[in-house]
């Protein structure tokens, strides 16, 4: 297992990154054009009401003070109040986040289930008809935008065959698996195309590696050669890739949540953007950044668990 000092060092690295992230978010919300007060007011509001809203949002304070307020509030978990939903941003995000995390994990799982076995089949017989077919299908998958995959699945599997519900979110775990199958699959198809590509390449590389030849020369059973020597080594780069594609995954859930009416943070982000709900946009962007950082961190930990060479801090 990775050492504690390694973990600490890795955690410390996050701090300056996060400070920058906060500055980015803050600046980009404040310095660009558009008056949040008008965005939140009804068309019918008077100028005095607008002034009051600006005051309530702290928009009449100087920028550095606003930033300080932003940082201290954020650290205490206070992301302000949503203009659109009239509730604390933290609270809104916390109610919506589990859905998105569920969806993301679900699609990663589907993607691995799809890409894993196929990558093995393809790598076992490089350039065979099967390999070429698998690669071509996934190449097409890579060229399809997530929203389009979603629409196709929606039309065929939900609207016509009625195998799955058209959208929404379930009430129990199993119900969720059923409801979120199509949205998860739309993201998974794209993600699995990336995984397949990478896993196939690293499997081919590992299968040819000297240590696998050596393991075979030792007379080990194919099963042990496969699991202990091939799979584990091929996994290292795939785990890295999975970690790095978390951004893609989040982007994908944003689209798929919109297409399938899944009440997660992705759809919330779009709604917030259309309503110019600045506190909510700010909070959500930060949430996404935290999510991605956590996944990067987890990836590092898993990687250093898999690969002893990475354990030195």
């Amino acid at each position: 297992m990775p050492s504690l000092s390694y973990l600490m060092a890795r955690l410390l690295q996050i701090i300056p990154t996060f400070l920058l992230v906060m500055i980015f978010i803050f600046l980009f919300v404040r310095l660009l054009p558009g008056d949040p007060a008008i965005a939140m007011a009804e068309a019918k509001a008077t100028d005095a009401q607008l002034e009051q809203i600006r005051h309530n949002l702290g928009l009449d304070q100087p920028l550095p003070i606003q930033f300080l307020l932003f940082v201290t509030n954020t650290l205490t978990g206070d992301l302000g109040r949503s203009i659109m939903l009239k509730a604390p941003v933290t609270e809104i995000i916390l109610t919506r986040l589990p859905t998105t995390i569920f969806l993301a994990l679900y699609s990663v799982l589907l993607a691995i289930c799809l890409a894993g076995p196929l990558a093995f089949l393809a790598a076992a017989r490089v350039n065979s008809a099967l390999d070429v077919t698998i690669r071509s299908v996934f190449q097409v998958g890579l060229s399809m935008p997530v929203f389009y995959i979603g629409l196709v699945l929606l039309t065929v599997l939900a609207a016509q065959l009625r195998w799955f519900p058209v959208g929404g979110y379930g009430t129990s775990f199993l119900d969720n698996l059923h409801h979120l199958m199509l949205p998860a699959l739309s993201v998974a198809l794209y993600t699995s195309a990336i995984i397949l590509r990478n896993l196939r390449a690293s499997l081919i590389e590992v299968l040819d590696a000297d240590y696998v030849q050596f393991a075979r020369a030792k007379g080990l059973s194919p099963h042990i050669v496969m699991t202990r020597h091939v799979l584990r080594n091929a996994l290292v780069s795939t785990v890295t890739l999975l970690g790095l594609s978390i951004g893609n995954l989040m982007s994908g859930t944003l689209v798929t949540e919109t297409v399938f009416a899944v009440p997660g943070v992705g759809r919330l982000m779009l709604e917030a953007i259309f309503a110019r709900d600045y506190p909510l946009i700010q909070g959500l962007t930060l949430t996404f950044a935290v999510l991605v950082s956590v996944v990067f961190l987890l990836t590092d930990i898993v990687q250093s668990w898999l690969d002893p060479r990475l354990r030195q801090s």
């Binding site: 629409l151 989040m250 953007i273 259309f274």
Partner: protein, 289 residues
């Protein structure tokens, strides 16, 4: 001197041999053909589209594919084929403009940072860390949200995020090239840093960047059409594949051609870019490592 410094890839015979090898690969030929056709459609939609893409024809609403309208008509009687063809202009533009500035900025920054290293490199590293912490689409739509929807704003938003990826790639390549003999020779001969970077290091570092650019153009189409679909990219009535699919969204079962045809166009074009990109990646990969 010139022997030491000349980058080998510039020799014409090598270029010819390279093109020969490229065209002997079926995947490259298919990809190249798709791209060539796409570019032709993007450049001359007025010659190739049978109808005005914007003209309403209330007598021909939502007609299925026929000889007169091979891709059918939409809910205003507009010819879907013509709209798909005109959309090539917008989408191919997206592929180009959403990436070219990111490439130029990223390569320049990456080259300088990679060559000089030091404090600039450290700051750059931190910025990269911070930017890749945001999911790409989230950051892009957040920027679009603040700037307002539309194509130009979308280019700005994508460029603002995307240059980082080019810069990171270029930096790594330049760092690798920096230690080579010809770079040292350039320094000994007293060439300016700029000349060493742009005349000697970059030409040798450029091939993985070009390969990435190809893939990135495919990604830009995916991203641009997604934004169009979400109402943040190209704006109706302009024809853009994502917008066309969004228009057909309400008629998935009754007028499937409205969303299917632009979808096929996206997949084909994306495939064109990635086939060419993959083939180039294979061909340009250094041998014997």
């Amino acid at each position: 001197m010139s022997i030491v410094l000349q980058s080998p890839s510039r020799k014409a015979s090598r270029v010819n041999a390279f093109i020969g090898r490229a065209f002997s690969r079926p995947s490259f030929v298919i990809g190249f053909a798709i791209l060539a056709l796409s570019i032709a459609l993007a450049l001359f939609p007025q010659l190739l589209a049978p109808y005005d893409p914007l003209a309403f024809d209330l007598s021909a609403i939502q007609q299925g594919p026929s000889l007169a309208h091979p891709f059918g008509t939409d809910n205003f009687g507009r010819d879907v084929l013509s709209r798909v063809i005109w959309a090539y202009r917008v989408d191919m533009q997206m592929a180009f403009f959403a990436t070219i500035f990111a490439l130029l900025i990223g390569v320049t920054v990456g080259a300088f940072v990679g060559y000089y290293g030091g404090i600039a490199d450290t700051i750059f590293g931190r910025c990269v860390d911070a930017i890749i912490t945001f999911p790409f689409l989230v950051l892009v739509i957040a920027i679009v949200a603040v700037l307002g929807p539309g194509l130009i704003n979308m280019y700005v938003a994508i460029t603002a995020v995307n240059w980082v990826y080019y810069a990171r790639l270029t930096r790594a390549e330049i760092m690798a090239q920096k230690s080579n003999d010809y770079a040292a020779a350039g320094r000994v001969l007293g060439y300016s840093d700029r000349r060493i970077i742009f005349r000697h290091l970059l030409p040798n570092a450029i091939s993985p960047i070009i390969v990435y650019w190809m893939t990135d153009m495919a990604l830009a189409i995916l991203l641009g059409s997604s934004l169009g679909y979400l109402g943040l990219g190209a704006q109706p009535p302009a024809a853009e594949w994502g917008v066309l699919i969004a228009e057909g969204r309400n008629f998935l079962l009754t007028a499937w051609w409205m969303s299917l045809m632009p979808g096929i166009a996206i997949v084909l074009t994306g495939l064109g870019f990635s086939l060419v990109g993959d083939a180039l990646a294979d061909l340009l990969r250094p041998k014997g490592r």
